[in-house]
Symmetry: D2
Subunit: 292 residues, 4 copies
């Protein structure tokens, strides 16, 4: 794979001004939303989130011990009355949690999009620029599933390219348009299995997203692990999130969506992305809902 | 106010069997979902969640100190690489957080709906019956806003009755039907102001919800504080959640929704309720989205 | 084993008044402290605490994942400056943590020593009576090790009795006196191995402690697991902590102390018990130090 | 104040080898410990720790809300049995907590004593070199109080020098020797009051500690706030902790100790420093005990 120089990489820094915090979400226009609304016809719907089984917050004599790894640690509280209440400790970026990456999650040469010093944007007290605040009220747009795993999971270490995308568009009779959320099914779990190279999104595929005007990307398996190109930036986190300022929904679960799309014969839908409305974080768990 | 005996109170225990965990969500049929879909026409949308400003998880020399109370405590983690990541500690039941109460949040005579011993359903390791698992994938249904505060906040200590509901239906030209999510605007903040009695939902209003077949209730201010009837069960938490097994969305923020409804001249919509997909909790923060 | 009735059990409720929070720590007089001071001659010392290896507070991509169980969860914080700082989440009662049980840890018929309603003493906001506040400044007294495992660990399921104690006193040429901290080595780890019954302190042994005026008890393995008498109260937690109001140091590690005592030929010493000075807890980790 | 160059600053990097983790604790020899033991005569004792009132871990309807700042957040757990148990979230470095700074808390030019790259010593999974592990079993040595505030708190912004130390030695008839823990009472609270410059330890005073061979320093108020010399390193944290590798006990409370010393007419004692025996942290709360 050619070693891209920074000058070659697609980039949106400055495209929406020096104070922008939305990045490619700016592409979701009123017209896009109207097209999204037009997708809702029957009331069928499906979740794109992995289910999360919490662990007890701490091990100990009063809660069962578990060795499973979970993004959520749970603690049932003593309320002193006949009411059950609890707390949870959430790791925002975790392969077992479907979560939305804020633009400040990534940085480039110690700067956060579109050019803020990282030390100023990311502080011990929280994220002050390009945080989850930008999309805390939610995101609503048209979603398109490109199911690259309709015939089974992609091969190990496969580099997903624009060719794969365009084949899927033809096969599914659907077109990815500006402002869309691009949902990508590679057929692999979000948590890599040690020793088995995963497939992943290539730089060519990210360039295609840029040309098409993708507003948001939601893959089941995003950047390959190990990296497709160990010397370059990671295509999805480094170039799409970091350079294009395209928010990512990491670690979605797409088997139910793929089955419903196949059943209905439709691969476009309205997508609601409604995280807990929490400001100032670098990421947040989310349960995206596809509506048909 | 007459002191109701238990025999008088509306009740759904047993209506959907001894193992049910959905309660009134059973009323959301395919027909209801189709009617919900028919509400989506223009792509307008709005969040019903309060924005949450997290506090630093702990005070100390490396994060600013704040005296504000927040349902979310935030901690920026040391990653050792140029990536920002964080954790959050979430109080699931909190007046400053729009959250979904699981049926096991409440109990009646040490039993959880529809008759499980509380000690069995609510354990130190999590909730094993009628927890958030029941709706973790999300809820999609038709929503109706009854804006009881169109002319300003309801008076202090006002008991909301079925009469208020039916007046609003006429005024807004809308009808609450079986399977609907009932969104109620009293015009009061979710966090009570000490010394000022809030308005609240009366038992008569809950009986009306039962007759109409409301699946889900989302008020900005639910049970009055102090209680309308200090000797009886609280109408919304005690009777609707505890007896009717009707999940509640506590502490919604409705000013934006009311403004959009007034602007569009429409008080019904499709409502997506998509919490982080976490199992086994007594409640969970949520960002409900109304789609028009 | 005879089934003791409550009337038979040794008991100190009321002995030091209705508001007491110290229990048997009242037995540590100025004279006892002077005798403790007389034990310090050479400056040899040893810790009685188990070392604790913390777990990362949460698993995830930025901290190693571990399946080990730990009483302490650790989180390195982002400080934004070249200073390392961290937080820890501590489970106060844990078999892998040497910790001091406050009297309110136990209750008897829903009452906490010496007769407070538990609902009043133990609240969602902390412990208001007989908490760690009582000994937060520290405890200093004479300590005596009775090494019951000098010839190897006690047999599985062995019931430790006053006879064992008096044999050890003779063997070691030491006498347990009023106000002493009694340190007991059974030669077993604090964490039970499933399927292997541990030895444990019998009710007879607790009666002996009561007669001798033991102020504090620190065993490596305290109550047998499974219980010696499944129908009666546990001798150490139920009768000594709950009835005698004798604080316990749970889960001490005594191999180093036993070796030093054998080397010096002395089984008495000054013991400092200096937990973090935290008020209002049901227990607290501690690192007891024996000084010779 | 003259601007010291690095070459001027006292330094112990390399003095005890390239792998050392003890720093000046190496100065506590068997002879020092024997002298410490000789200080214990009457059994009088006192704690040097600030009492800590925990906050509820989170605010909310089931625990009281407080605006006070605390280094400890407390959570009473649901155990489902009549046993009280809790957890605590501890901020290790906090002005309201008497705590022990590990050597890795500080770094110099991105290196941790005695020359490890900070990125290697301080990781997202914990501290791997010069952490609390080094003194987790405890520290026992001779302590000396120099009470600089016998006639009242030092003046605002006063720079404590070697002259102050030697005046106190004469006045108290005591001598600070190699291996001693130096306890310093300036008469100021550990938490600075905004707008009031505190007194603090000067570089001259740190040089004196170096010459005398102080093993450990425990001041009520250490580095001045604002700094005495804004352009140089902070004397206690930057030079003593960072350069001399002298562990600090930050934020001790000394009124009780000063009163007892005055009453007994003795300013030396045996000091036990016994933190919870937790490995791999950058700091840990501690309750130092002075024994006479």
């Amino acid at each position: 794979m050619a070693d891209p120089t920074d000058a070659d990489l697609p980039d949106n820094w400055g495209r929406w001004g020096a104070d922008d915090e939305l990045g490619t979400l700016n592409l979701i226009t009123a017209e896009v939303r109207a097209q999204a609304a037009a997708e809702v016809r029957t009331g069928h719907w499906v979740s794109l989130a992995q289910p999360i089984t919490p662990n007890p917050m701490v091990s100990g004599p009063f809660a069962p011990t578990t060795a499973d790894v979970s993004p959520v640690q749970h603690l049932m509280a003593h309320t002193g009355v006949g009411v059950a209440a609890d707390l949870m400790l959430v790791t925002n970026h975790h392969a077992k949690s479907t979560h939305l990456d804020a633009l400040a999650h990534w940085s480039r040469d110690d700067e956060v999009y579109p050019g803020r010093p990282r030390a100023q944007a990311v502080t011990a007290g929280g994220v002050t620029h390009a945080s989850t605040t930008a999309f805390a009220a939610g995101i609503v747009t048209r979603g398109v599933l490109l199911d690259l795993a309709a015939d089974g999971p992609l091969p190990s270490a496969h580099a997903v390219t624009s060719h794969d995308f365009e084949e899927a568009e033809k096969r599914q009779d659907v077109e990815v348009r500006s402002g869309d959320a691009l949902v990508l099914r590679l057929g692999w779990p979000a948590t890599p299995v040690p020793g088995t190279p995963t497939p992943g999104i290539s730089l060519d595929a990210v360039r295609w997203m840029h040309r098409r005007g993708v507003a948001l990307c939601a893959p089941d398996r995003g950047d390959a692990q190990p990296p497709l190109d160990p010397d370059g930036p990671s295509p999805l986190h480094g170039v799409a999130l970091g350079g294009l300022a395209m928010p990512l929904i990491d670690a979605v679960a797409l088997d139910d969506l793929a089955a419903l799309c196949a059943q209905l014969g439709r691969y476009s839908f309205l997508l609601t992305v409604a995280p807990p409305r929490i400001h100032g974080m670098s990421g947040v768990p989310v349960n995206p809902i596809a509506l048909f």
